[in-house]
Symmetry: C2
Subunit: 245 residues, 2 copies
DNA sequence: GATATCAACTCATATATAAGACTATAAGTA
DNA sequence: TACTTATAGTCTTATATATGAGTTGATATC
C-alpha cells in the first residue's frame, strides 16, 4: 500500500508527497470507497514522518473530498453521493417540506454507434460502440426530466443483460454493483434550447419549445470519463442557486 | 483588536474561538479589506496560545475566503473580486482567447418605493425607498445583459449625486469608493422566464421570448444584504458549468 | 550613485510529545 | 442474561520548538 517517499521532484513538501502517494492509492483502486485508511500513526510511521505531517496530508484528501474522517473510528475512502443531485435544480419537497425522490422509468436501452463529439467526451475512439439509455424521471407521476445516457459498451456490457426489474431509480449504484465502475465526480453544464420531438413527447410538451439542458460528464476515481448524459426538463420548474465570493 | 478568549461557550476548541474573534474583527470593520493581520506569532502571544493553534485559526479564515496569506509579507483581509462574474455565464473571449470585459451603459437611476419582496430580500421595512439603477452590459456593442439593481436609499444616497462620467463598468468598486459599502459575497439564482418589454427593447429581442434571469443578492462583510439585482440575458449565449462530488 | 550584503520580519514546513474525546470490544459484575 | 466497566485503538486538540524560504529596508561597499 505505502512505499517510501520518492525524492524525484526536487523540492515539494513531505506532506504533499504523502498526499500524492495516498491519492494514487485511491485512484489506482488499491483503496476502494468505504475502505479504511491506516491510522494516522501508522501512516506517519510507514512514511517515516511525524504524526502532524501525516495528518496534514490527510487534511488535503479530506478537503478535496477523497476521504472522510470519523472520530474514534478511522478515515475512510469517500463514496460520492449523487442521489440528491436533481434537488439542486427543482423544488423537490412536498407541502410538509419532506424531500421527494424522483422515480425513474426506463424507456429504452440499445447499442448505438457513437457520434464524434460524444466519443470525444468519453475519451473513446471516434467510431466506438456506445450503450444508449433513455429514461424519464417523474415526481408524483409528473414528468420532470428526460435523460439520454451514453456509456462505453466495453466497460458497461453487462448492463445489456440486466432484467428490467433490476433497474432502480438510481443508475450509479447499478454501475458499481453490476459493472464495478464507481463515479467519483461529475461536471454539469447548463444551457437552454429547443426540445426535439421524442423528449417533448415524454415531457408532455409541444416539440420545439425551450427546455433546460443539463449535460453531465461523470468521472471515476481515476478521473477517466465514465458516462455522458443529456437531460432535458421543463423550464418553469427550474432554478439553480450558488454562492460566489 | 484582540482580547483574551471568553470561555462563555462551555467547550469549543481554542483555535475555533480565536477564529470567531478574528472573524468578528473583520465583520465589525476593525479590520478592513486590504488590512494586514498581526503576525501569527503576535496573534499567538496576544491570545496566549501556541503558534500552531493561532495558525489553525487563520487556516479557517483562509479556507472561508476572509483572508489571504502572502509568504514573507503577511496575512491580509481579502477583497472579493466580482469583475469576472459574467464570464461564468457567457463565453467572453475573442478569437485569440483573450478575456473580453463587458461595457456598461447607465440607462436610468431613480428613487422608487420598494416592493414587498425586494425590501424583504434587502432586510428593509416593507415601504422603504430604494435606489433603482438600470443598465445594459455590452460586448463589442452587442447587448449581453439587461440589469435592474436595487439599493437602500439611506445607505447609497451619495450615488444619486454622482456625475454620469463617474460611472465605470463595475459597480462594486463604486459602492466602496463613494458609499463605503464593500461587497464580500453574493448568491446568484438562475431561472428562465419571458422578457418584459423594456429589457426586451435593450436586448434587441421581441417582448415575451424566454431569457435567462440571474437574481443576485450581494452581502457585505457583516453579512447584511447590500444589493439585489435582476439581470436578463439572451439564452443562446448562455451556459453554466460546475462540479459536483 | 549604484550595487551587494545583511538583518529582521513574515509565513511555511516539520518534529516530538501530551492529553482529551469518541468508538468498539472484551471483561467483569449483578 | 443484562448491565457496567475497563481497555485499546482511533481521531482531535494543543504545546513548544526548530529550520526553511520569501520580502523588505537598512547598511556597507564599490
Amino acid at each position: 500500500m505505502q512505499a517510501n517517499l520518492q525524492q524525484d521532484e526536487p523540492r515539494s513538501p513531505r506532506y504533499y508527497r504523502i498526499y500524492q502517494a495516498m491519492l494514487s492509492d485511491i485512484q489506482q483502486g488499491s483503496l476502494k470507497p468505504g475502505d479504511v485508511l491506516p491510522s494516522e500513526m501508522h501512516i506517519a510511521q510507514s512514511y517515516g514522518v511525524a504524526p502532524g505531517t501525516a495528518r496534514k496530508a490527510i487534511d488535503m484528501l479530506v478537503d478535496r473530498g477523497w476521504v472522510e474522517r470519523q472520530h474514534g473510528k478511522g478515515t475512510f475512502v469517500r463514496r460520492a453521493d449523487f442521489s440528491h443531485s436533481l434537488a439542486r435544480f427543482f423544488r423537490l419537497t412536498d407541502r410538509e417540506g419532506v424531500q421527494l425522490h424522483p422515480k425513474s422509468e426506463l424507456l429504452d436501452i440499445r447499442v448505438v454507434p457513437g457520434t464524434t463529439d460524444i466519443c470525444h467526451h468519453l475519451d473513446l475512439p471516434d467510431d466506438s460502440e456506445l450503450i444508449q439509455i433513455e429514461r424519464v424521471r417523474r415526481v408524483d407521476e409528473m414528468p420532470l426530466l428526460h435523460e439520454v445516457i451514453y456509456l462505453s459498451r466495453t466497460r458497461f456490457q453487462s448492463l445489456l443483460n440486466l432484467p428490467p426489474d433490476a433497474w432502480g431509480d438510481l443508475l450509479y449504484p447499478l454501475y458499481e454493483q453490476v459493472c464495478g465502475e464507481v463515479v467519483f465526480r461529475a461536471t454539469d453544464t447548463l444551457s437552454v434550447g429547443p426540445v426535439p420531438e421524442s423528449p417533448a413527447h415524454h415531457l408532455d410538451l409541444p416539440p420545439g419549445v425551450q427546455v433546460i439542458e443539463i449535460a453531465r460528464l461523470a468521472r471515476g476515481y481515476d478521473e477517466r470519463p465514465l458516462e455522458w448524459r443529456l437531460s432535458r426538463g421543463r423550464l418553469d420548474w427550474f432554478h439553480y442557486s450558488f454562492d460566489i465570493r
